[in-house]
């Protein structure tokens, strides 16, 4: 019976042979893969600032900037509440092909819009639908300090107003006025540092004793998406009635840790639909942004953008 010891040989050989195989997956994408992205903003039209993009995804090695954008797509947006159709046209702007509405139809809050994209040579209809969130209004100076040179401003040019890092949360909370609406909102906030990278930039909170970035951080700083330059956060916040100022407001009062450096910032605050929210929070969000038969997202938001300079101390005293 000692030959029983050879029982183990056959499965062992099979396992060892299988160990010689390639333990990695094959390429995921085959042929042309298209991405469509579009963010509708309540109260605005689909213009050059927020157009629809139709791009042909490319391998990084084969990246050719001019071939990335699809210029001959047929792009249509339908207001499902009114059945109005907007035929979008391609426009070359800032070296990009942007699909815009030449008639400047305004996007209405609470309306549902359907996007349809036909790309010559691509047999599938790319489509998506989004319902625009209720109208909200960005409130830069919630407490009404109204101090010249301090706080957030809605324009992006010098001179920037200032806010000290120590008082930014207590004096200038991020706030959206929501009209008659009270309840839960999908909130997207982005704090983007407008300064160019420099080793003289200064951290608002020293990191293990380091007060300034070193040169190794330059690529991190300019990397796309979230990073030390651009902090985004998402969540389900509520709008509730306030006495002073009177009205219904969504407010965020703990956000200063998103200011990594002292300097100029662009702060965006949106109430967003489920498509954009899902696109932002999901791993591989391009699968979950509501686009059918392509990657990307078709979402809608309400809100706005404001600007300030985060400083240690105010340079002017009123």
């Amino acid at each position: 019976m000692k030959h029983l010891r050879y029982l183990i040989t056959l499965p062992l050989v099979l396992i060892i042979l299988s160990g010689c195989s390639d333990f990695t997956a094959p390429e995921r994408f085959d042929g042309e893969t298209y991405a469509v992205t579009g963010l509708l903003i309540a109260g605005q039209s689909i213009g050059l600032e927020r157009p629809i993009y139709v791009t042909r995804s490319t391998t990084i090695q084969d990246f050719q900037y001019l071939e990335l954008f699809v210029a001959d797509a047929e792009v249509k947006v339908i207001d499902l509440n009114t059945r109005a159709e907007f035929q979008l046209l391609p426009a070359l702007h800032e070296f990009r092909i942007k699909y815009i509405d030449p008639n400047d139809n305004i996007i209405h809050p609470d309306h549902t819009y359907r996007l349809e994209v036909i790309i010559p040579g691509y047999e599938k209809l790319i489509w998506a639908e989004t319902t625009v969130p209720s109208q909200v209004t960005l409130t830069p100076d919630f407490y009404g300090w109204n101090v010249s040179g301090q706080g957030f401003l809605l324009q992006n040019f010098e001179p920037y107003s200032e806010i000290t890092f120590d008082t930014v949360e207590s004096h200038y909370p991020l706030a959206l006025e929501t009209g008659t609406f009270t309840g839960t909102l999908n909130i997207f906030a982005e704090l983007y540092c407008l300064e160019e990278f420099s080793t003289s930039l200064e951290f608002t909170t020293p990191v293990f004793g380091q007060t300034n970035p070193d040169t190794t951080m330059v690529t991190t700083y300019y990397s796309s998406g979230e990073g030390i330059r651009c902090i985004q956060f998402l969540g389900k916040y509520t709008s509730v009635p306030h006495q002073q100022p009177a009205g219904n407001y969504m407010m965020i009062k703990d956000y200063r840790q998103a200011f990594i450096f002292f300097g100029r910032y662009r702060v965006t605050l949106y109430s967003c639909d489920d498509n954009f929210y899902r696109y932002k929070y999901s791993p591989e969000g391009y699968f979950h942004g509501g686009i059918k038969n392509a990657l990307g997202y078709f979402g809608s938001v309400s809100g706005g953008t404001m600007f300030t300079r985060i400083v240690k101390e105010y340079s002017t005293i009123d």
Partner: protein
């Protein structure tokens, strides 16, 4: 079917009790030097060649069918063999013979082979131990360690156990994830047994008697997890005299005291061990977060009489971290356990072990902003109250019947709160209780001198008791978990065996993939089915010579109803309408492979060489989607390693050459690990999303990171003095400073000069070249 079942059980019982009128010889085997029980000692009657191994409490019982004179022999590697002649006068005599064993070469401080196999040098072991490796305190402390010896780190050096990163002591055993390991400390579950964000395990090695890892196919008395069992036993303490150990390392100190106690005619022993880090003291010199951890083990034993022994043990540990990142972040987390045990002999053939135990893990996380006092709080934890009864009946020398029960009450809490205007419905507020009951029976049947059959059955019943959320449906699951092993002895020290077992799991872990204090154990609700795994094992063991032993185990495991935390849940939590299925991706998987282990004790070199070849794949819903069909695809998880080599060797120069250095005993240690690189996702394409160029990623296992390789060495010089010994030690981790990679991240960055896009990959490093010094004092 019922009649057939009754017939089978009746036949089995008849086989078991066919020789009930035998004499017995029984007792406890202990160490001479401290009277602590010795587990798994081979005890046999020389004349009849009938034998067994002592159980975890050091107990043995053997049946003798005829009166006469016999010799009892007790042996285990590292101890002198003890032979005791005795006489049986009648067939109903029950003789008690306690045995003491002395360490071999005590004067030379010789220690046994690291990573000892359970069936080393045995004559007749009834139990078929599948995938079992046991390590004693000395084994663990001999392995070269980062900063200090660690239970999990020593287990990670074994074949079949995969390290995922230098910064994590989490155990990935034969294709299983850490949540599938049953980790027991004195028979009670420890839920998140990690310090320092997973770098260290919670157990202080000086307080640990032994660690037993069962890599699969575990016996019927264990259940509730899909992959493995890590059974940690606290030391009982020296019953003969008081002694202590103190250790001083770069980041922590520890002290252990033990000894006997006596009140009147009652006696027993105690053991207490405490450890604390002092990293926060270095803040004067380096800007570090305010962090420390401590832990303690306490055990008290009371030997009431020869048939009753009681013990009570407790563990407590805590980590605390405060960090300023613009807002102040404060975390603390820790485990507490207690176990009360009663060992009772109903009669020499019926051994029992009853346990009442509890375990708690909790973590707290607070962010304090400038404007609000506590801008965010997070509290989670799990409570466990358990009672177990484990009985072992040995009616004759052919059968050993193990049976018992296991009742476990769990409560999970997860609560988040904020002063901000965050939707309270989107912040988890969970309070769930559940009950898991199980009964088991297992027979070890020595069919003849060559064949052993070990059938077992575990019946588990799980039920949710209370849930504070309105939507999750109640769960009630009943499962039969059959286990069976068959072994054929081929020679005195050579055997081959096969095993099958089914395992169920009713708790799941909400984890980000690496161990953190925020890992949350959830009892299943009715929206999710329990995880089920089938294990198939084929093994071969051969003690090649006195110097070498060789094991191979081939295994195949299937998994159903696997659960992985859906990280998007943080943005979609819904107390009012949510169910547990919204929080987890479910799926299936399989793993197969082979573990090889060559153990050596050769010319003073003690250790082992281990090699594992394996393949693990999972298919989880909404994960790793095929872009065409949007269906999930099988993938190699992060912890899959095709090939793994471990070499652990120790060499005591003084013991083997007789030469001392500077008047002390010199010892060297070496630990080498090689693994195939971990699977990783890589960028495949790019697109423009209106703001930035974004990466479209490949399948999650498109590439492998560079292979992992690390060599650690240590040297210790032990000086013996009249009061004890003092041992300075010096260790180097990653001798060749190899740049092992733990994670690789990709970003696209525009080249400001050319306008072209550049793909940037950034590797997170693992342990660099690191020297450590420390000192151990024993008295």
């Amino acid at each position: 079917m019922n009649k057939l079942s009754i017939l089978i059980v009746a036949t089995w019982l008849a086989l078991c009790i066919q020789v009930l009128t035998a004499a017995t010889v029984s007792g406890f085997v202990t160490r001479v030097e401290n009277a602590e029980p010795l587990q798994y000692v081979n005890v046999r009657i020389v004349e009849t060649r009938v034998g067994m191994q002592t159980n975890k409490k050091g107990y043995y019982v053997l049946n003798i069918s005829r009166p006469g004179s016999y010799t009892l022999e007790a042996s285990i590697i590292g101890f002198t063999t003890n032979r005791i002649p005795f006489r049986i006068n009648s067939e109903d005599e029950n003789l008690t013979l306690d045995i003491e064993l002395e360490k071999t070469g005590v004067e030379l401080q010789r220690i046994v082979v690291t990573g000892e196999s359970e069936e080393d040098n045995i004559y007749s072991s009834p139990q078929i131990r599948i995938g079992t490796i046991r390590q004693k305190t000395e084994d663990i402390q001999k392995i070269v360690a980062v900063v200090e010896a660690d239970v999990f780190r020593s287990v990670l050096a074994l074949p079949g156990v995969t390290p995922i990163s230098d910064f994590s002591a989490s155990l990935y055993v034969r294709g299983g994830s850490p949540d599938q390991n049953l980790i027991l400390l004195d028979d009670i579950d420890v839920y998140n047994p990690n310090h320092f964000g997973g770098i260290f395990s919670t157990f202080n090695t000086d307080a640990v008697e032994s660690v037993e890892l069962i890599k699969g196919g575990y016996p019927a008395k264990f259940g509730g997890r899909l992959s493995s069992v890590l059974d940690v036993t606290n030391r009982q303490g020296n019953r003969n005299y008081h002694q202590g150990v103190a250790r001083l390392s770069a980041i922590s100190s520890s002290a252990t005291l033990e000894g006997p106690w006596r009140i009147g005619n009652q006696r027993g022993s105690y053991m207490a061990s405490f450890r604390r880090t002092y990293l926060e003291l270095m803040q004067q010199f380096v800007d570090l977060p305010d962090y420390y951890f401590y832990d303690g083990h306490v055990k008290l034993n009371w030997d009431l009489d020869s048939r009753n022994k009681f013990s009570a043990s407790a563990y407590f540990g805590k980590d605390a971290l405060v960090f300023d990142f613009g807002s102040e972040l404060a975390l603390d987390w820790g485990n507490r356990t207690f176990t009360k045990q009663w060992v009772h002999l109903f009669n020499p053939t019926l051994f029992s072990h009853f346990i009442i135990a509890g375990s708690r893990f909790e973590s707290n996380f607070t962010v304090r902003g400038e404007e609000v006092s506590n801008s965010f709080t997070h509290r989670n934890g799990i409570d466990d109250l358990s009672t177990k009864g484990m009985l072992s009946w040995k009616p004759n020398n052919q059968h050993q019947l193990d049976f018992g029960y296991d009742i476990k009450w769990n409560r999970t809490i997860l609560k988040m709160d904020t002063d901000s205007q965050y939707d309270p419905n989107a912040l988890p507020d969970v309070d769930v209780t559940s009950l898991l009951s199980a009964a088991y029976v297992q027979d070890v049947w020595d069919v003849n001198d060559l064949w052993t059959l070990q059938p077992g059955l575990r019946l588990s019943w799980y039920k949710t008791l209370t849930m504070n959320l309105p939507s999750p449906p109640d769960a009630s699951y009943l499962n039969l978990e059959p286990r069976i092993s068959l072994r054929r002895k081929l020679d005195v020290a050579e055997n081959i065996y096969v095993n099958y077992g089914r395992y169920c799991q009713y708790l799941t872990l909400m984890s980000m993939g690496i161990s953190t204090p925020f890992d949350i154990w959830f009892p299943l609700d009715g929206s999710l089915k329990p995880g089920i795994s089938d294990h198939y094992t084929l093994g071969y063991k051969n003690e090649l010579s006195r110097n070498f032993g060789f094991d191979i185990e081939l295994y195949y495991k299937t998994y159903r109803n696997l659960l992985e935390y859906n990280v998007a849940t943080g943005f979609t939590w819904d107390n009012a309408n949510g169910q547990l299925k919204d929080t987890f991706h479910s799926g299936k998987g399989y793993t197969y492979g082979a573990d090889f282990m060559l153990r050596n004790d050769w010319y003073g070199f003690e250790g082992f060489i281990g090699y594992t070849i394996s393949k693990t794949q999972r298919r989880m819903e909404n994960t790793n989607l095929d872009p065409e069909t949007l269906e999930p695809r099988y993938f190699y998880p992060k912890y899959d390693r095709s090939h793994q080599i471990n070499i652990i060797e120790n060499f005591n120069i003084t013991e083997n050459t007789g030469r001392q250095f500077l008047g002390g005993d010199l010892k060297f240690g070496l630990s080498f690990t090689y693994t195939t690189g971990q699977p990783n996702q890589k960028p495949e394409r790019i697109y423009f999303d209106g703001d930035d160029f974004q990466i479209i990623y490949s399948y999650s296992d498109r590439e492998r990171l560079p292979d992992y390789m690390r060599l650690d060495i240590s040297t210790k010089l032990e000086f013996f003095r009249s009061w004890g010994s003092i041992e300075p030690c010096f260790e180097i981790v990653n001798v060749f400073d190899r740049k092992n990679v733990s994670f690789r991240n990709y970003n696209i960055s525009p080249d400001l000069e050319t306008g072209q896009l550049t793909l940037i990959s950034r590797d997170s490093p693992q342990f660099p070249f690191m020297p450590f010094i420390g000192i151990n004092v024993k008295w």
